[in-house]
């Protein structure tokens, strides 16, 4: 939130008859701290629709179990959370149980928010009370039977959820512990980057090693040297989170949204803590695969397709162009276990994130009209096995899923 918006929010809070705490100086501090908690938790990422009123309900989220629509969390009494109490809010954040005992689905990352200390949750509540109420009735639960039965989540919580606050590791630095808290707690990185069990809970043994997500692949963000962020320096990681762009790549898709709404607004200290923590997570790719031979037919076709379609921007040797066209050589993004995001880039195209520091938004054009599924698969196989990369070949079936 920029200062002007924040002042407006404060002014609105002072004028609103429901704002019982108006005029309380401590309360102003709490609201300011709460606004930052909303940044850390990226509430707007889900609860604000593209172009919609802030926190008044988000764009539908496709889960493996069906569709959920993030509800209106403005203080509107009829359609928002204006009739909730602080206790209701604490319970929703830490136990997944909302007003009137309604069970939340864990697409709302309460297993992560449960690690937040109560004062932070209370600050966030104070901030949410200052948002302009918006009347927008959201029917959150679009799931098919039987997942539409909210009380099923009682059983899910027993299986998948242990509500407990963050436990610092005394052997690690304060910065590392802050990073661990942010990643595991409010920033809920694992919601996208951790593979899920068949019940949709985090597969704890594979934390942050990459996962499928709404037609994208959220990449490995452990310190794994070939598929994770191990080859990025702490400064490069911070630059990526702060601006969406570093010397290696440019954020797009769901991560672009998370950067625009959340990480680009975090303090440099918090971003440094996140980077410090991520860079200590054990490598997940024990065995580095051998690249395919250049004589492989897919590699030969892919080389021809690459030079004709990709090399003008990404370079004859995959070197890219700093801050404008991502490098493909020795790229952990290129070497991910799952090529869904890569295939999406080629077939559908994508636009880089817009942040104040990096406003250019370079875009990848859609090549789906020019390359058929086999050609997309071959060029990706070539890129994934050239210039220091080594990864499994891409099949036309992976590409076909991205066509309409």
């Amino acid at each position: 939130m920029n200062p002007a918006t924040f002042l407006l929010a404060l002014a609105a809070a002072a004028l609103a008859p429901t704002a019982a705490f108006a005029g309380d100086v401590d309360q102003a501090d709490r609201i300011g701290r709460g606004a930052y908690q909303a940044v850390l938790g990226d509430c707007a990422g889900c609860h604000t629709a593209p172009g919609g009123a802030p926190f008044a309900g988000g764009a539908p989220i496709a889960t493996p179990f069906g569709t959920l629509i993030p509800p209106n969390i403005t203080p509107d009494r009829d359609t928002g959370i204006g009739d909730w109490s602080l206790d209701d809010f604490r319970s929703a954040m830490t136990r997944g149980v909302g007003h009137d005992g309604i069970r939340l689905y864990p697409a709302m990352p309460y297993p992560n928010y449960a690690k937040m200390p109560e004062p932070d949750i209370d600050d966030l509540w104070a901030f949410l009370g200052t948002i302009a109420p918006v009347k927008n009735d959201v029917d959150a639960n679009q799931l098919p039977f039987p997942f539409s039965i909210r009380t099923l989540m009682i059983g899910w919580n027993l299986l998948e959820f242990t509500p407990k606050p963050f436990a610092p590791d005394a052997a690690q630095s304060a910065e590392w512990n802050r990073g661990a808290y942010l990643v595991q707690g409010p920033a809920h990185c694992g919601a996208c980057h951790t593979p899920k069990t068949i019940f949709g809970g985090d597969d704890a043994g594979k934390a942050l090693t990459g996962a499928s997500l709404q037609g994208w692949w959220a990449p490995d963000i452990t310190a794994a040297p070939t598929t994770g962020v191990g080859s990025w320096s702490k400064e490069e990681l911070v630059a990526y989170l702060a601006t969406g762009v570093n010397g290696h790549t440019i954020a797009s898709g769901p991560m672009a949204e998370a950067i625009a709404a959340s990480t680009s607004k975090m303090t440099p200290e918090d971003l440094g803590a996140i980077a410090t923590y991520l860079k200590t997570l054990g490598p997940s790719d024990a065995a580095r695969p051998t690249p395919l031979a250049a004589s492989d037919p897919a590699m030969k076709h892919g080389a021809a397709i690459y030079v004709d379609n990709c090399s003008a921007c990404h370079g004859g040797r995959g070197e890219g162009s700093k801050d404008l066209f991502p490098a493909l050589a020795s790229s952990p993004i290129v070497a991910q276990a799952d090529a869904t995001t890569l295939a999406r880039m080629v077939v559908i195209g994508s636009q880089g994130v817009h942040t104040a520091a990096k406003p250019t938004t370079p875009a990848m054009p859609s090549l789906g009209w020019r390359l058929d599924d086999a050609a997309v698969a071959d060029v990706l196989t070539f890129v994934r096995n050239s210039w220091g990369n080594a990864a499994a070949r891409v099949t036309p079936g992976t590409v076909a899923k991205l066509r309409n």
């Binding site: 037919p297 076709h301 003008a312």
Partner: protein, 250 residues
């Protein structure tokens, strides 16, 4: 054909008034963009999908005539297959039913002045109308002056002689057809079909590009710009690709 006229005060004023009136509904407003640049998923402007079989404009008799003309302008030889073998007639046929053939991107309302040669074609007639009228006039002239034969039935030397006379304006094709202008259109469209991207129906297998060593639809040569005196190593590529993409050539 049009009658040459000269501008009058009344005509200039009425034209100015018409232009002013007609510009109002089509006004394009500038718009301000802030934040990310506009961008759409799946956005692309590919060439129209080529219809491979059949004729969409020419009759079968016209196809015979046009094929005979095109194959004299670009005969099969050591450098390339003939124009028609390279799909030039297909290219022209598809162009005649498109924006070019219909002059849909040209202003073709009056007044019509007799322009200078440098001012280009000055007539409401579309290229499609000119091809149709020109081919018919040529066949009438050939039938009347070459013992009732059709153009395609002439010997190669006879065809060349007729075409040279048409090009030089020595033949009066009648029916208001300007022989020189018709030949210029035929030659222009033939060259376009031979050298344009195969996506438009001609230049089959990129034959003309291979003949010239033209690399096709590429736009970055940084890896080669310093290699003076060396042959550019890559084969041509069309908007629709090249055989190597699909393993047709390994």
């Amino acid at each position: 054909m049009s009658t040459p006229t000269s501008p009058t005060r009344r005509r200039v004023l009425s034209t100015a008034a018409w232009l002013a009136a007609s510009s109002i509904p089509g006004v394009a407003f500038a718009r301000s963009i802030s934040g990310a640049l506009p961008w759409d998923a799946n956005s692309a402007a590919p060439p129209p999908k080529l219809q491979l079989n059949g004729w969409f404009f020419f009759t079968s008799a016209e196809v015979e005539t046009v094929t005979a003309i095109v194959d004299r302008l670009i005969p099969a030889d050591a450098l390339s297959p003939s124009g028609a073998e390279c799909g030039v007639v297909v290219y022209i046929d598809r162009q005649m039913i498109g924006p070019f053939g219909r002059s849909s991107r040209l202003y073709t309302q009056g007044p019509f002045f007799l322009g200078t040669p440098r001012q280009g074609w000055q007539s409401p007639d579309t290229p499609a109308q000119r091809w149709r009228a020109g081919v018919a006039a040529l066949e009438r002239w050939v039938a009347a002056n070459r013992t009732g034969r059709r153009f395609a039935a002439l010997a190669a030397e006879e065809k060349d002689a007729v075409l040279k006379d048409v090009e030089a304006g020595k033949i009066d094709l009648g029916a208001g057809v300007d022989a020189k202008a018709f030949f210029a259109l035929v030659l222009q469209n033939t060259m376009e079909g031979f050298f344009a991207d195969p996506a438009y129906g001609g230049n089959k297998d990129m034959a003309s590009w291979r003949m010239l060593g033209f690399p096709g639809a590429r736009y970055d040569y940084r890896d080669h710009v310093d290699k003076h005196g060396q042959r550019y190593p890559l084969p041509p590529v069309s908007i629709t690709g090249r055989p190597e993409w699909a393993g047709k050539v390994d």
